[in-house]
């Protein structure tokens, strides 16, 4: 499955991943600059991404925990998500996203 990512400089990357991993893990393992300081337990907001509009209704909805953690992020938009809370799936094959500012 594929993942299309735009980094903070505007460069585009196509990454491979499977449903065993969260999007944060795929981003981090590819060497892209994503801090993910809590390691993926929804306890920080350092894996903040913007999900492309066309994919927004396909990803699982945001829960209270994630919404609360987003309070610690900057420039939060309707498309904001924490990438550690989304796993890749067949439905999300090809998902496009952008790294939020640090």
């Amino acid at each position: 499955m594929k993942l299309k990512v735009t980094d903070r400089e505007g460069n585009k990357h196509e990454l491979e991943g499977d449903s065993e991993s969260t999007i944060m893990e795929i981003l981090r393992d590819s060497g892209l600059e994503i801090e993910a300081s809590c390691g993926g337990c929804c306890a920080c907001a350092t894996c903040h991404v913007y999900v492309d509009e066309k994919w927004l209704n396909k990803i699982p909805p945001i829960d209270d925990d994630e919404e609360s953690m987003l309070d610690q992020a900057f420039d939060v938009r309707i498309s904001s998500r924490l990438s550690c809370q989304i796993s890749l799936s067949e439905e999300l094959d090809g998902i496009e996203l952008e790294l939020a500012p640090e």
Partner: protein, 338 residues
């Protein structure tokens, strides 16, 4: 007053706590310094209720249980904890000892320093806008140290957590407070939220939905803050901006101690877990070496080997004879086992 001990451990997370035990078995006394108000580090602060599944022999254990058990295990060695403070500087004395000073003026002397600081200490998350660093501590306050300077001033407080709400409620008594948050829901304690809503109803504070967009320096000691909500931009002038965006981890003063670093981690050898500076050790998530895995169990192993080397600095004339806790009468005495 300068206190004295054998080893100063920086960081009271799981690895720092287990280091007390391993050092204690070798008769080495410890003081432990941590920035948080309780021991346990990330385990107790970030995920006290989350189960961990890879602690040997513990099929499942929460961060808080692990912390409590490690504290219990370290107890026989009477460690001294200095909580709520951060190490500010270290100096090598003529006696070859280290003098460690905290931001609360605590001074402790020791033969070795063990850095077990995980991902660093928790510091306030700052606004990621360029060209605002010069306003920090002048117009932008990430912590309130002196309430009196805020009297009768125009304040903009940002955030939806406990700090933002508590300060809004408190400072509304002495200043003109506007609270801004990106949504109508707050993660702060329900009590503080209802108090804030009451203050808003009575027009004692203003509440504003929005996010920070830009900050400009004004000549009259004030700042112009532009805020955005649903793509609409509004600006207003305030004396102080108080952003409360939670905490993040930072190496802090450790990065100025002359230790060899590798991408914000401290390089160590894998025999003694010593840094590039003799008698300073680094264990747990904060160190790096070929093959390093950031696991609590790796930190435990590193603590045991580090202790062997610390023994040589603490008791240069003594020979360290390796003993097992199962059979050694001497170790049983130290562990208060009769």
């Amino acid at each position: 007053m300068i206190e004295k001990t054998d080893v100063i451990i920086i960081g009271a997370g799981p690895v720092g706590l287990f280091a007390i035990f391993e050092l204690g078995l070798l008769n080495i006394s410890c003081h432990v310094i941590d920035n948080l108000d309780k021991p346990g580090g990330q385990c107790a602060e970030l995920y006290p209720e989350k189960p961990i599944y890879d602690i040997p022999s513990r099929v499942s254990i929460t961060g808080q249980q692990l912390t409590d058990d490690l504290l219990e295990q370290a107890k026989p060695f009477n460690p001294v904890y200095h909580l709520n403070q951060q190490v500010e500087k270290i100096n090598k004395l003529d006696t070859d000892e280290w003098l460690v000073e905290t931001n609360h003026n605590k001074k402790v002397k020791a033969k070795c320093i063990v850095i077990a600081a995980g991902a660093g200490s928790f510091v306030p998350r700052k606004i990621p806008l360029e060209n605002i660093a010069h306003l920090e501590n002048i117009n932008i306050l990430y912590a309130v140290r002196n309430k009196s300077i805020l009297k009768n001033k125009d304040l903009l407080i940002i955030g939806g957590g406990d700090s933002a709400l508590d300060w809004t409620n408190e400072l509304s008594k002495i200043a003109n407070v506007t609270l801004m948050h990106r949504r109508k829901e707050f993660r702060a304690a329900p009590d503080s939220v209802s108090k804030m809503l009451e203050l808003e109803k009575d027009k004692k504070i203003h509440f504003l939905l929005g996010q920070i967009n830009e900050i400009q320096d004004l000549k009259n000691n004030k700042i112009n803050v532009s805020v955005k909500y649903n793509d609409k931009i509004k600006t207003f002038e305030v004396d102080y901006l108080l952003p409360f965006f939670g905490l993040k981890m930072d190496l802090g003063s450790i990065s100025n101690w002359g230790l060899n670093l590798n991408e914000n981690l401290i390089s160590v050898d894998t025999e003694k877990f010593q840094t590039s500076v003799p008698s300073i050790f680094a264990i747990g998530d904060i160190n790096t070496y070929p093959g390093k895995l950031k696991l609590i169990l790796s930190g435990f192993h590193e603590a045991a080997l580090m202790a062997q080397e610390c023994f040589k600095y603490c008791f240069p004339d003594k020979k360290n004879v390796f003993r097992y806790t199962t059979s050694s009468k001497d170790l049983h005495r130290k562990l208060n086992i009769v």
